[in-house]
């Protein structure tokens, strides 16, 4: 009960800050849209590369990547907010006041998920408005959003753990950089089988590759490797939950 009330309070405050501050809200909506425009529009010629066999077209192919990217960066942006809260002293007061401190981490994670849902809704509306095609009957689409939600939770908990340990806004690159690398060392522009050289090797072992490939199979209406992708995403979320909770203990110890 105390866990839920703390989580609700932290989540509400975090969401209130984001949705009443245009400088936080607009980039969250604009950046995924911009990447979607640049990738799906500018690189649509990639669909003519020999061996590119994604039937739903390049817009749908890139939509999955941009959706996962928005999920991951939605989590990271919440980490920025936590670091800011440390610098203003808010988290320290919160640590003193909260009857259950685990609720703080949970609250930030709920806030990250909620703000991403708004971004995902916006992005989806734009994608359908520009004629994105979905394969099958569309029943597999919820699985794509669930997968992306797990990515959001994992990235949010990663950033939360970093923020709890470093407690400064100078930690932004530490939160952002590994997520950026993990995303872009996956098959971003072409399917895995069309990657050549070192990047194929890196992408093959990158866990986000499974997520992207499964996400693209969902939008194509022909699910494949779904179990592996959900397993990987859930494992990352659990791993980073421990990371964030250990970070919380580190923040508690620092006083």
């Amino acid at each position: 009960m105390r866990l839920a009330s703390v989580a609700r309070g932290v989540a509400w405050r975090s969401l209130h800050n984001v949705f009443t501050n245009p400088s936080l809200l607009i980039p969250q909506l604009a950046f995924p849209l911009f990447f979607f425009t640049a990738f799906a529009g500018g690189l649509s010629g990639v669909s003519r590369v020999p061996g590119f066999d994604f039937a739903e077209g390049y817009t749908a192919f890139q939509f999955v990547f941009v959706l996962c990217q928005s999920a991951a960066f939605g989590g990271v942006f919440t980490g920025f907010g936590i670091a800011r809260d440390f610098e203003t002293g808010f988290v320290r007061r919160l640590l003193l006041a909260a009857p259950n401190r685990t609720g703080i981490v949970l609250g930030y994670a709920v806030a990250a998920l909620t703000r991403w849902l708004v971004t995902a809704t916006f992005l989806t509306a734009i994608a359908f408005a520009v004629g994105m095609k979905v394969g099958g009957s569309g029943v597999d689409l919820p699985a794509l959003y669930l997968l992306a939600a797990l990515v959001n939770v994992a990235a949010g908990l990663w950033a939360c753990g970093v923020a709890m340990r470093l407690r400064t806004m100078q930690a932004f690159p530490v939160m952002q950089f590994p997520v950026f690398l993990a995303l872009f060392f996956a098959p971003v522009y072409v399917p895995l089988h069309l990657l050549q050289g070192w990047i194929h090797g890196v992408a093959y072992v990158n866990p986000l590759t499974r997520v992207l490939e499964a996400g693209r199979s969902f939008i194509a209406g022909a699910p494949s490797e779904a179990g592996v992708a959900f397993g990987v995403a859930a494992a990352l979320a659990v791993l980073f939950a421990f990371w964030a909770l250990r970070g919380l203990r580190s923040a508690e110890a620092a006083g």
Partner: protein, 257 residues
């Protein structure tokens, strides 16, 4: 040395030293463009199989991007440093000295150009190390370095103007996404004639950044191409002259005596 030359030298040296003492200011412009180059050249290598693609090496094609990305960083660095000088009152103290306004701009931008040249040499060295051989030869490399210096000067002047107008480092930083939009909505990843979506091709045609990229690209992958060079140098001259004129107009308000 004349007074003006002395003033320019001292301010340019200050600009270079100050940048060199802040690793974030020079590491990011060196590392981030190289990272993007690695990611894009790996991920988009298959694009070279498209009929009409001008080279079979995507690294050679994409090597132009770091030069423009580096210029964006130059814009930000130039603007942010000057805005900080305004915020800390350094510019007000300079106003009490006989320093000429033109010398202030020249000195400040001299430091930006020096950093731009270091960046360009670094990008070229990485390109050579991974097997890119500029088709225009040694002369082309020299032209490329001149072009890189002019890009740093032109975009640095834009950052300087933004700093003089706003007087705020945060406001200058907020311009970064705007410039990034220009970069991504250009022929950055694929030649304009191979862009399939007509609206995107139109945007890329109207975007001056496309011509800057194609100027660098022509020296690396096609050799001497008068049209690409003319357009690239023309765009950089227009941006530079415009931004310098705007900066010179905004300076007296900040350097009030």
């Amino acid at each position: 040395m004349s007074d003006a030359a002395d003033q320019i030298f001292v301010l340019a040296r200050r600009s270079v030293v100050r940048t060199s003492r802040q690793p974030a200011q020079w590491i990011a412009p060196l590392v981030f463009p190289m990272l993007l180059l690695a990611v894009n050249s790996g991920g988009l290598k298959a694009v070279t199989h498209l009929p009409g693609f001008p080279t079979d090496s995507y690294v050679a094609f994409a090597l132009a991007v770091p030069f423009i990305q580096g210029a964006l960083f130059a814009t930000m660095n130039a603007g942010t440093e000057l805005a900080r000088d305004i915020q800390t009152g350094f510019l007000n103290r300079l106003a009490l000295t006989p320093l000429r306004g033109a010398a202030l701009l020249a000195g400040h931008l001299g430091g930006v150009v020096a950093l731009g040249l270091v960046q360009a040499c670094f990008y070229l060295a990485v390109g050579l190390a991974v097997g890119v051989r500029p088709a225009s030869g040694v002369g082309g490399v020299a032209v490329l370095l001149v072009f890189a210096a002019l890009i740093a000067l032109a975009f640095g002047s834009l950052g300087t103007w933004a700093a003089l107008r706003t007087g705020s480092a945060e406001s200058v930083q907020s311009l970064f996404p705007v410039f990034f939009v220009f970069l991504f909505l250009s022929s950055m990843a694929i030649p304009r004639n191979l862009i399939q979506q007509a609206w995107f091709r139109d945007v890329a045609n109207a975007n001056p950044v496309s011509y800057l990229l194609e100027c660098v690209r022509s020296l690396i992958i096609t050799g001497w191409n008068g049209e690409a060079l003319g357009l690239g140098f023309g765009v950089v001259a227009a941006v530079g002259v415009g931004a310098l004129a705007l900066s010179a107009r905004a300076l007296p308000q900040r350097l009030a005596r």
